[in-house]
Subunit: 161 residues, 2 copies
């Protein structure tokens, strides 16, 4: 880590998102070669996002997390805790919806967010953190591997119509 990253870490706060953060979060989710095809970032933000946020916020096993610097939202991810029977009744953490502000990439913000999420998973007693990474995002794979993740599984998706 260079000096820039260390400086960035000093004044970045990681916290649970509020409803007021939603426009900034959805802007980040939409600003991406995959997200731009899926999301609808408009002012005002479509109500479906607020409804989803309320469902997540009301679920003790789900949390939207943001990275904030100087009052600006610069990163986000969703952390889901899943009670399972497998691994002797172990709890897993699932991470989805990861984005860093496009003007702030390679500044170590993703790493700070992930280190926070992994630490949170440990505190909650999880034995594993898992995620699926689109095969068209090789940079993301390298980043996750640098955090200790292994691509031991196929991430399989079935879109319902």
């Amino acid at each position: 880590m260079g000096t820039e990253n260390e400086m960035a870490a000093d004044d970045i706060a990681i916290r649970t998102a509020t409803r007021d953060d939603l426009p900034a979060i959805i802007a980040m989710l939409a600003n991406d070669h995959l997200g731009s095809k899926r999301e609808c970032y408009a002012d005002p933000l479509p109500n479906v996002y607020y409804a989803a946020f309320d469902a997540i916020d009301g679920d003790p096993n789900n949390e939207i997390v943001v990275a904030e610097q100087d009052g600006k939202i610069i990163g986000t991810l969703q952390l889901t805790l899943i009670p399972n029977l497998t691994y002797q009744g172990g709890v897993r953490a699932l991470i989805e919806g990861v984005r860093v502000d496009s003007t702030m990439r390679s500044a170590g913000i993703g790493r700070i967010l992930f280190e926070w999420a992994i630490d949170q998973a440990k505190k909650k007693g999880c034995h594993m953190v898992q995620l699926t990474a689109d095969k068209t995002r090789p940079d993301a794979h390298r980043f996750y591997e640098s955090l200790g993740f292994s691509a031991t599984h196929e991430g399989m998706k079935l879109h319902l119509t």
Copy 2:
């Protein structure tokens, strides 16, 4: 599908698991080249499994499902519903902990279980069903692909110590 599969489908019931089903479920989870290293099937069953079952059973977004034939548990999976911001606030279904009784493989039971789970995901308004499949299970990948799943993602895991 052959005649055998069609006959099997007629008298197989798919339902939410109860606590009484747990020994049969854990026996299936343990009876597998990966599961045998992870699970602890004993009589009586370790309490960790009952605690995990209670957590799952008490969570409206989680459900252990079993396939039953002539009073015998012959298959299981876990269905998790996850509210997300991505895909315009879409809900995803996640499937984990899939097993069919080793004496009943290739009889179409996995397909019946999955068709039930996919139908359930549709009823709950999910836009996607996802799962991760260990890369050492090529037969499972072919099975999932035959159901319409695509291995578009890497399934990445980080084991916490």
